[in-house]
């Protein structure tokens, strides 16, 4: 293996390949910053460039585009509440409020440092454990996925603010329902498409996320009118004293977790960022650093997960996400068949890509930090300028991913519905989470049940899934206990009165 790592350094440090890492990261991070454009779009846009390169340089560049886009993806989540990719949704939970408080620079800097740490931890782990970790991917099967997803959905109850548990769950159910639109994989028939081809592939993430987050928020700003943002710290890419220390353990924990979840095909960066955010909430201290850690956790996790998703791609030849599926296509176009034999057949490429990830992460940090003051200035814009810009970019982002005007109308309808829900006090994050997880949950649950002839017995027979069942029960019990205790207190109060 050490020999392989040496080969990797040799390949990655060739001047040509160094140049391509930088080019890839640059392109990826800029495209990723655009609201509505995520890693898939970034990679798709760079495919024509990759055709003219040799396999190692091409893969090094495309990998750079991928993690560059994940790195830059937090920007639009934090600044205008417009997550362009599912894995940065969790970043907007604490990032956007921090930016609204006038600390956009701090939020972006935290995201950049945490992304760097997550990406680097991921790259080290990938270097050391890649071949061994491939096993993990085959051990995790439909029952385990089902429970992991149930666990992720259950954590909604834990995300919920006090008194919001029922509304959060209701919003999550709406999200799950939206996820059922399209082709039913298990029956092969169309559901809830009203005979429209535009709905046959289901609703796209970008559409739902832009509608319920960016657009609904822009509409709310219009309705709320009034105050401009405080500008005190807007443009300083500075952390608060104590931020560094506060987030260190969060980042370490989230990076490790993110990498492991990223290795699982299909789960990837999104689940990793939600789990990291959820765990961080458990460790909340109710002080000023909570927000900082709320940004650091998902950002470290999604970058580590993005690196982790290269494990199944490189060692098994199996794409774990839409983005790695496109990368697989790129490799195939070079005549490189990723899979169990890649390590023997193309050692220079295998190790070169991994080693280039360190360089890429340093490049990204060096690139992103100086940009923060300029990016934050977006928020200097007066509301009557900013709001139309957000609306225009959101609509454009959705239109550009599908080139279908139907999506634009649908998005406007969703945004109005989202605004109504928000005004009625329903949180929209659970709705989006439900929507993201819906398809995966249904698919895995149905397979689990078909395997066990229609019963749920299988999940109690497998050791890993039993452990996951216990996790779920624990997370359900916590808010229930809280509700029960509140009821008791209130009743006691009533009697006393």
């Amino acid at each position: 293996m050490w020999e392989g790592i040496a080969t990797g350094f040799g390949t990655a440090f060739q001047p040509v390949n160094l140049a391509w890492v930088i080019a890839g990261c640059l392109a990826g991070t800029f495209i990723g910053m655009m609201p509505g454009l995520g890693p898939i779009t970034a990679i798709a846009l760079m495919i024509p460039v990759s055709y003219s390169l040799d396999p190692a340089a091409g893969m090094i560049m495309m990998a750079g585009v991928y993690y560059g886009a994940v790195f830059g993806g937090s920007t639009s989540s934090i600044l205008i509440n417009a997550p362009g990719v599912a894995s940065t949704v969790a970043t907007s939970f604490d990032g956007y409020p921090m930016a609204r408080r006038g600390q956009a620079g701090r939020a972006l800097a935290l995201a950049a440092y945490a992304s760097f740490a997550g990406g680097t931890v991921g790259a080290v782990a990938l270097l050391l454990f890649a071949p061994a970790l491939a096993l993990l991917a085959t051990e995790f099967q439909s029952p385990e996925y089902t429970l992991t997803l149930v666990f992720a959905l259950s954590s909604i109850a834990a995300f919920a603010e006090r008194g919001q548990v029922l509304r959060s769950l209701a919003a999550a159910v709406v999200g799950l329902m939206l996820g059922t639109v399209g082709t039913d994989q298990s029956a092969g028939v169309q559901r809830f498409t009203f005979g429209r081809l535009d709905l046959a592939d289901g609703l796209s993430f970008v559409l739902v996320a832009m509608a319920t987050f960016a657009l609904a928020e822009a509409f709310r700003m219009v309705l709320a009118g009034g105050t401009e943002l405080p500008r005190s710290e807007l443009a300083h890419a500075r952390l608060h004293p104590g931020d560094g220390k506060a987030v260190t353990s969060t980042v370490a924990r989230s990076s490790g977790l993110g990498f492991l979840v990223g290795v699982l095909p299909g789960a990837g960066a999104t689940l990793a960022s939600f789990f990291a955010y959820e765990i961080q909430k458990r460790f909340r201290r109710n002080d000023e650093t909570d927000g900082a850690r709320g940004i650091a956790a998902p950002e470290a996790a999604n970058n580590a997960a993005c690196t982790g998703s290269f494990v199944p791609l490189l060692t098994l030849g199996i794409p774990g996400s839409g983005t790695t599926a496109v990368l697989l296509g790129v490799m195939l176009s070079y005549g490189v068949q990723p899979g169990p034999r890649l390590l023997e057949v193309e050692p220079a490429m295998f190790w070169g890509v991994i080693v280039s990830m360190y360089i890429g992460n340093v490049v990204l940090l060096a690139l992103n930090l100086p940009l923060i003051p300029y990016l934050s200035r977006i928020l200097y814009l007066r509301r009557r300028v900013l709001v139309p810009c957000v609306i225009a970019f959101s609509l454009l982002g959705v239109y550009l991913t599908s080139l279908n005007s139907f999506d634009v109308y649908l998005m406007l309808a969703f945004a109005l519905a989202g605004l109504a829900l928000r005004l009625a006090g329903f949180p929209l994050a659970p709705l989006l989470l439900g929507f993201i997880l819906s398809g995966m949950l249904e698919e895995n649950l149905r397979r689990t049940m078909v395997l066990a002839d229609g019963s749920l017995g299988l999940i109690f027979e497998r050791p890993v899934s039993v452990v996951l069942v216990l996790f779920c029960v624990a997370i359900w019990a916590a808010p229930l206990m809280r509700v029960v205790r509140q009821r008791q207190n209130r009743r006691r109060g009533d009697y006393a009165a």
Partner: protein
Amino acid sequence: MPKRPRALVASFMIVAAWAAAASERLHIVIPAGPGGGLDGTAREVGRVFVELDLVERVSFENVSGGGGGRAMAYFLDNADRFQTPLLVNSTPLLVRSLQGLFPYSFRDLTPVAGLVADYGVLVVRADDPRTTWQTVAAELVRDPRAFAVGGGSARGSLDHIVLAMALRLVDVDPRAVRYLPYDGGGKAMIALLGGEVDLLSSGLGETMAFIEAGQVRVLAVTAPERIRAIENASTFVELGYPLVFANWRGLFGPPEMPAEVLAGHLERLRRMKASASWQATLERRGWTSLTAEGPSFVTYLDAQERQLREVMMDIGFVRIDGR
């Protein structure tokens, strides 16, 4: 002074006319996102065309969504906007029009030629004691629910259809066998290796790396004759079952395509297929060439549609009123 602009316009028009005559520009519409098999096919064809100077330039347009239906609608509505438009498509076109997912079929287009074929394979884990399709089939004859079968696409799409074709030939009701759909052939392969399913129906292209690595064994392939890259794998025909089925990828033109344009395309494709560059592409991509041009491609499509209709009726995926 009024003369000069007119001269300018005139000279511009002459140049434009000359450019149009000297060069042909293809525009290929791809009913899928970038990076997939259809996208790769279109772009490789375009690359070889330009390399051999058969056309001046090829542009590509990815129109995904609606199971390929959006690209079809787009192509039919906009064909006259481009000088020489082509649509790349594959077997799911037939499957989806049989299902009634969209109101089009290949008869709304002018089939130009088949380019490449991917064949279906049934595979088991390499350490599975059942080494032949006959043993596996016998188990399913005794108990159709003996084990679950995985595939990389939804019920009623290609992987499921190939499985159903194989099962019908051994008198097993395909609807009685548990078919588990996964989100892509890769995840289905993980399920096979991890033991969640014991048999996998997939495309040869997606499975090749695992066959070469010795992780899975091919029970049978739906090719008409043995494939060089996997010489040890029997075809269904050799085993005594008349099952030949290819997932083709091919080119189509707009509905009313003049005969001389079609002839031009066929000549270009003939030269492309004879070129060393195209042979190298097939080798590098692991594709099998498909010979079906013009009228013979139409015959091929007709035959495959009949074959699909029969098995899809059987598994309940053809609308009775469907076309």
